[in-house]
Symmetry: C2
Subunit: 348 residues, 2 copies
């Protein structure tokens, strides 16, 4: 007799729901962990079953990053909160030049959440983690009463290993360095927004959510002198470049006509009064490198499935105001500022 | 001119509230981070300001643990969600025998949450982290619409360093090993419950929330052969010992009369029909050690401020059913089982 599960029938994943007992530390929680989470996410570390996962020594610097995910809707064209929560944290580690290795996941679930949706999300996490070559080594589940949450929130924390000698930082950017982007901007935010506003298109818009560590590994081994990388999530290209401008003490000049934006994304932006350079991406990369290596780096990026539409979009310039400015398609010049307020809530 | 904060007045912490823009990736979020989070939590790693924190190499195994905190109410006698979110994760690392070093924090905040409460929570986190000798090295803030959250949820992830040669696990427990507890049980859960139910007492009940890494360091250097340690949080002593029993393949026999429970906690338990051994603690430790070292370990624990009421409460016995049983105060014997359902929701 398995006394641990003796009093409970198996989880009815097809028809069941999360109730408060699944967060209570008793049999129901143990069952949820073993029959749903561990079944899909199992690995040697998660299976240790102690309060913390014991991981092998990493003889190098660690890169650590955390992100809470509250995206709404939970399922969207191109992904869901599960894959997004893996990609977001993997990318934050990878843009530092590190190899992402381990993730933790904290779930806050609203009472009444369907188990079938939870399983779909956990399977999506498992697939995304496998594709990105990372392991989910520790987790936690809490349940809040109906009306005190919104389906599910997932907080992931990632740990990566940074090889000796490699340091990337916005403060290393020099005048004349070149700004590249790995592909079209705004796909994630506009896919979410279209779903929320029930906009329908001939070509369905898909989120670009993806793990960038493969692309980044190829770029790092290309030999190009990369100064800094960032994934332009919340706040989009505009926020990312303003951050880098301030870290570097330089200005940045962009060419609007060089910035890749899909026509269908551009169309929704015009419809809703948005600007693609302010919109969140979840599978795109901004990289700044020495001018003499820009063409070589661009070729490397275009050679990777996630960098097919990579482009050179701007240059770092002397500017004590650290302004980001853009030469528009019509030949004018405009400031590219941080947004003051909220453009698209709960995008990630 | 500081162009970064040029368009916004300083945060009005006394009267202000969180709005959706504080999670949007624009100026308002940058301001919240710099004027509130960074002001109280600053350290060399958090100040790097990149997507991930870069931490020095740790030449040993890592222990990693994560916990989402959804405690309600947010402020309770003896602590708040801020200190609890530090203690919970520090303790999960420390019970593995590791030295907790770094924490990350992901905040999910409900629109309308008062900035004054947020600051109080962040200050409480800063104090708890300082006391526990850990640094908060990375963070994230998301905002959800009013009615889609419950004030604030905080997910912390901790990283610790495990010295070579030390491994603690429930599977190392042998027949005859002795079970000790570091102090009275049920204080945290009953303090929360009393606050929620508006129960008033002559002696106010306080949560025991505390970081156990100092106590544990003293125990580890005492030379006692410690097999396993756990902090009995959700599910209390009963869940913790059932977990260990299953990991070890042994049974555990407890003496009810030896288990320290404060009279006021016992009184509330009787009033509400609860059992102190099922109730969550946030500053208590269960430890199992070789019988010949139990007295020495007990003396070490009682010599520490967090172990004054430590006691020997039971012994590991041969039992292929892995049952946890208790000799009651009245001389009977009863099963100590996992709770099937939910006793106290949102206790941590």
């Amino acid at each position: 007799m398995n006394s641990k599960a003796g009093y409970l029938r198996h989880l009815d994943i097809k028809n069941g729901q999360i109730d408060m007992s699944h967060g209570g530390g008793g049999r129901a929680m143990v069952q949820l962990i073993s029959e749903l989470f561990a079944r899909h996410l199992a690995n040697e570390y998660l299976s240790q079953g102690n309060d913390g996962a014991c991981l092998p020594a990493l003889n190098g610097r660690l890169i650590v990053s955390t992100d809470s995910h509250v995206v709404s809707p939970l399922f969207f064209p191109g992904g869901d909160i599960g894959s997004l929560s893996i990609h977001g944290t993997v990318n934050d580690i990878a843009v530092m030049g590190a190899t992402p290795l381990y993730l933790t996941a904290g779930f806050i679930i609203e009472e009444g959440f369907p188990l079938i949706d939870l399983e779909r999300i956990v399977i999506s996490m498992a697939c995304a983690a496998k594709d990105a070559n990372v392991q989910i080594v520790a987790g936690d589940t809490k349940v809040v009463e109906k009306g005190k949450g919104d389906g599910i929130f997932i907080t992931t924390t990632g740990i990566g290993f940074l090889p000796a000698g490699l340091t990337l930082s916005g403060s290393d950017v020099s005048q004349g360095d070149v700004v590249l982007v790995s592909g079209s901007l705004g796909d994630h935010g506009i896919a979410i927004m279209s779903q929320r506003e029930h906009l329908a298109f001939d070509t369905p818009l898909k989120s670009d959510t993806a793990a960038l560590n493969g692309l980044i590994a190829a770029m790092l081994s290309s030999g190009a002198m990369i100064k800094v990388m960032r994934d332009p999530t919340r706040g989009g290209l505009a926020a990312t470049l303003n951050e880098i401008a301030h870290q570097s003490g330089l200005g940045i000049h962009l060419h609007e006509s060089a910035i890749p934006v899909k026509p269908e994304v551009q169309a929704v932006c015009e419809l809703l009064g948005l600007d693609a350079i302010n919109i969140a991406n979840e599978g795109k990369l901004i990289v700044i490198c020495a001018a003499e290596h820009a063409d070589q780096l661009l070729a490397t990026m275009r050679n990777h499935p996630l960098g097919l539409d990579a482009a050179i979009i701007g240059v770092a310039v002397e500017d004590t105001n650290c302004f980001v400015q853009m030469k528009t398609k019509f030949g004018g010049q405009r400031m590219v500022d941080w947004l003051a307020g909220e453009q698209l809530p709960r995008i990630c």
